[in-house]
Structure formats: C-alpha cells, structure tokens
Symmetry: C2
C-alpha cells in the first residue's frame, strides 16, 4: 500500500466506513467527522502513510476519545482537547510525536485522529489497534506485543488533565475509566506512546484504507439504490448472518457499559426464524432460535439497515427496525489464546467458547 491524502470530502466515506466496522459500538462518528472537516478546512488535507514508511525510532502516538460516546453528542468537544492531550504527552516524554495512530478502526475514534493529524500536520498511520471497535483500552493488539498503555494523558473540556502510569494495561483501563466518569463521562486521551518498530510489530494493517473503501462502497451502492450488504459481504469475504426485524430489546447499564440483547424476527429467506444478538457497546454474539452460534467475538458482527443501507449501532436498535447482520473474520492476532484472553466471549462474561465464523458458517 502507498500513502494517500484525505480531504474534507473523503471524511464522509471515512465516517460511514468507520460506523460499519465499529460493529455497533464506537459511537456515532458524526462529531469526529465535523472536527476533522473543520481541521482539514483550516490546515489542509491529512496524509495517511503505510506502517513501513515510519522509521523504527520514530515516536508514534494513538489519540482517541474515552468514555461514553453518547456524552460527546451533548457535550461537544471544543476540538482542542485531543490535541492538548497529545501535547501534554509530548511534554511529559520530552519529545515530539512523528506519527499518529488510530486506537480502533471504528466509530468516533477512527475520525478524531484525522482532526489531530490535520491540526498538527502529522501523518496518520494506515492501521489501528483493534481492526474494529472494543470497549476497553487494554483491548488492542499492542497489549499482546507488551506495549504499555502508559504514560497516558487524559484531558477534559474544562481544563483538567492527568498523566497516568500503571503496572499493566488493565490497571490503566481501571484508573482511566474512573477519571473519565468523573470528568463528566468522556475525556480525550493520548496513550500507548510507542516506537516505530513497536508500532510495526503490533499494528493491524491497512484498516484506515479499508474504512475509506467500505464507506465508498456503502455510498456508491446507496446512490445506485442498492442495499450495500451484498457488496460489502463480497468485498470483505463476509457471511450474511440474517436479516430480521427487532421485536424485543433488553438494555441495562453495567459498569459504565451498555449491555443487553436484541431479539430479531427473520425476514425474507430467514422468515419464520428468530435471532438473538448480545451486545456490550459492540455486538458480541449472534445466535439463532436453536441456540446455534452464528458469530462470536472477536469476530465482527456488523449491522446495516435493511432498508436504507446505513450502518446500525447498538444504540440505534429499536422495535421494528429491519437490520441485516453481517459476520466478518477477525484479525488472526485476536484468535490466538492471548487475543481471546483479552476480547474472547469469556472476558465479556458469556459462557460460549470462541468458534471462528468460517467454521460456524460451514
């Protein structure tokens, strides 16, 4: 892959593709898109570079939002907090960043880094730490490569900030989570400062270009009055899990997360069947009325509106909405024992074992 330039117009596709790959979570990328578009208008386009274009001794820094994305819709970030978090981390390290990284390939956090990249003139690396969205900060490939989340900076909209150092990435999650809640439910953070060599070892590659391509596919299919589900399944080697209408939703807030399940009544070729999707911020497990698994975390479960074709987040699920659920194989790093410890069904409290989607769909 080679470098490419991202304009304000490109951010439309990137927001759309990010919403799809976010597997129902990650927050609506709308705010992040506006922040990125404002920054690109002021400072010019963003350059996305392949991981191998980064020097081994470069300083690479992921920047993102932490907390409840819904909070950001009511408490708009001023566009400076993420940049400030980066600057404070640079001050702490006594060194300027050479490249920015996305912590997750989905939702708000696949758009906010573009805003910071435009404002700072830094390139953004084509890749991320999840290849999708996950709810907790230790759930990144970097953790499997012994890259530490700290020193980490949190900054809020009021001017409060903190620099964390923790003995593990799980501890970083705990200490950062409570501060995020106290800061009003959302904070902008800079974390996992790493060398270029570490980044190249840990990063899940090409996901920024993939997001852009997914977004362009959704947009062009919609322009042609086609639902993008078929095209996405072909492009991503995905599996159609089912198409169905929401007939029941159970939601509860536990430990700052949106947990629950949705029941779907099958439509079209799935007429007469019933499906369940369990979620915690993201869609995590899909099964049918025989309790047969259709897809299970860390494999991706992505929803698109069966009518309009737009990505559907867990928050948007409502009675009567028709959704096509698509399953995608996760990055091979996630299906290792170390990966499943971090993001397998057991970590989220489900009794199921992980079975790769390719085996389930045989």
């Amino acid at each position: 892959m080679s470098s490419f330039s991202v304009s304000s117009t490109d951010m439309e596709a990137i927001a759309l593709g990010g919403a799809f790959l976010a597997t129902g979570g990650g927050g609506d990328p709308y705010i992040g898109k506006l922040m990125a578009q404002a920054a690109i208008a002021a400072h010019g386009p963003v350059t996305v570079i392949p991981p191998d274009a980064v020097a081994d001794d470069a300083l690479c820094v992921p920047v993102c939002m932490m907390g409840a994305p819904t909070v950001m819709l009511e408490k708009l970030p001023n566009g400076r907090e993420a940049h400030e978090a980066l600057e404070q981390l640079e001050a702490y390290l006594g060194r300027k960043a050479d490249a920015l990284v996305c912590i997750e390939a989905g939702g708000l956090n696949s758009t906010i880094p573009y805003a910071v990249a435009a404002a700072t003139g830094l390139p953004l690396v084509d890749g991320d730490g999840m290849g999708r969205a996950f709810p907790e900060l230790q759930m990144v490939s970097f953790t499997m490569h012994d890259i530490k989340a700290t020193p980490m900076v949190l900054a809020d909209d009021k001017g409060n900030s903190s620099v964390l150092k923790a003995i593990s990435n799980r501890w970083t999650e705990r200490l950062a989570r409570c501060q995020t809640v106290e800061m009003g439910g959302a904070a902008l953070v800079a974390l996992y400062p790493m060398t270029g060599a570490e980044m190249k070892r840990g990063i899940l590659r090409n996901t920024m270009s993939l997001i852009k391509e997914i977004g362009e596919t959704i947009a062009s299919e919609r322009r042609a009055n086609r639902n993008p589900a078929e095209a996405l399944i072909r492009r991503l080697d995905g599996r159609k899990l089912f198409t169905g209408r929401v007939v029941d939703i159970e939601r509860r807030t536990e430990g700052g997360f949106a947990r629950g399940k949705a029941i779907f009544k099958g439509m079209d070729e799935d007429e007469g069947r019933t499906f369940t999707v369990n979620f915690q911020n993201e869609y995590l497990i899909a099964s049918d009325d025989q309790d047969r698994l259709l897809a299970v975390t860390p494999d991706l479960i992505c929803g698109v509106d069966a009518d309009g074709g737009l990505p559907v987040t867990t928050e948007q699920l409502r009675f009567g909405l028709a959704v096509t659920m698509i399953g995608l194989a996760c990055d091979p790093q996630w299906s290792t024992p170390a990966g499943l410890d971090l993001v397998g069904p057991g970590y989220f409290g489900y009794p199921h074992d992980y079975v790769p989607i390719k085996e389930l769909s045989r």
Copy 2:
C-alpha cells in the same frame, strides 16, 4: 519558635497528640508512627523548623495519605509510596523539594511526613494546612491563599501512579478521590507544591510542636493516673463540652465518608442530660437535649476516653464507652467567610450556622 529534633521516642507523643487534634478522624496514627520510627532508626532524627526559617524561593511539598485510613490498617504501605510520590512530583517539576509540610495536624497525616522527612533528610515545617483534620483535600488554608493543589502525584502500593492537573482544588479532590478508590481505597500523595513565600502566607503555624506537647501532656497525666482532659483544657484554652456514655450510634457510609451521629447519656456533673455528636470522619457538631449547640465545625471537637484518657476516634465509639468531649477554637482563618465556605457546617450539609465556641460557652 525555634527548630527541634524528633527522635523515634518522640514519635510516641506525636502519634498521641495527633490522635487528639484529629477531632475523631484522620485515622489511627499507629501505622504512620511505625513508618516514621523505622525511617528514623535507619536514617536518623527529623528536624522540624519554623516556617520563617524557609527561604521565600524554596520548594515546599506536603506529603500525605489520601483515602480511608482504615484501609491502611489492612493494606500496610511499604513505606516507600509516600517517598515515591514526592520523587515523582520532583521529577515532574524538574526540581528537588527543600522542605516538607503536613497537610493536616492530626491522625496518620501528622506522622507519615516524619517518615518521608527521615528518609529524605529534608526538614519538616512546624505548621500544617488545617490545624486539625478534615476529610477533603481542598479543605486547607492554602486554598484560601490561592495556592493550587496541583500538580499532584498519587501513588499506590502496586506501582501505579498519576500526575493530576486541575482547574480548582475542588476538581483536584474529585479526580483524586475516584482514583484513590480505584487504587484500593488509599493512596500516598504529594500535592500543593508551593514556594516558601506561599507556605509562610498560608500555613497554620506551630501545630507540629503543639501536637508533640499535647502528646506529652496526655502521656504525663496518664503516668500520674490523672485523666488528661483537665490539663488539655487548661493548656489549649478549651471548653469541656460534656462527659457521657455512648447509648446509641447511627453510622452510614456516604460518598466514601463515614457519616453518622452518636448519642451520649451525661455522667458526673452532666448526669441526667443527653448529648448528640454528629460526625463525618471527624466530629463536626455537638449539641444537647435542648438542641443547644455546644460546638460546631470548624471549631474542634476532641474526644478522650473518660476512663483511660486516650484520644477517641469516631470509629472507636461504641455502646457504653465513656468519653469527655472537649471543644477548641479553630484557627482564625477558618472563621472567615472564605473559611466557612470550605469547612463550615453548611458545606457538610448541616442546617446550622457557625457560632464561635467562645460565644456558645458563655
């Protein structure tokens, strides 16, 4: 006042005097005493110096424990965390501390700084930020002199730490409190870094020597088989509020604090009367059965065991215990409007107005 040296033996009196001046809270200084005695045994005695002996441009740093003191009894600090918190703050500021300060004159936090002073060889200033104990970190005279609590370092026993910067001392309290809870209920902290000039403006003077003298008075009266209450009242120009036996206690944990009230049946000259003491970590309001106020925060309410003569904390109150309650006038800084905003009865949610104890006892 002149400088004085504190030996391991002196720490016995300091722990005792600190328990009295803690007004029922501040935690049992026993652990802090052991930490200080171990450090003095290893490194030699501590020098306590008058505030005016510190240069205007010196760096003065309070070190203390934050959180539930009861936790420290089960989760013994390794003796290094407080020192580490100081070192991290020094690293952040790029400058070594010249003198240590006590944040409160009572309980654990009037003994822990001796441990750090012995280990670092730094002098400890004769004074503190409260002249007693209070539960929240913004409740110090330094806040009234616009001295910022941040940058502040928190360190736990596991090796996690954080550097906080906040827009106000109330915000520092909020952000540090949630981290303390997450760190297991207690953290060692270094905060309110200030110049010598700021320290001299804000500090409540001579409280370290006062604590030592109170402890020596309690010890010598006990050796003479006298209850120390009378001698303490004379020395401190205090008022005897009442002597009574605990007949009822209501305790509840709210927002991480031990709130409640104790009812006492009067003894000796108070026979036939009933008294109530409201507390939140510390004793805050004493009243009689006619709802007449006897003493109210920020004035000090200190308890001593009517039999053994030792200081009694709110946690030690139990059915049948006979206690003499002594009221002391607070430092004049606390009875100003700014002081009452920080630590008056209204802040703690009580409907009473502050009336100085000297008026109440007329």
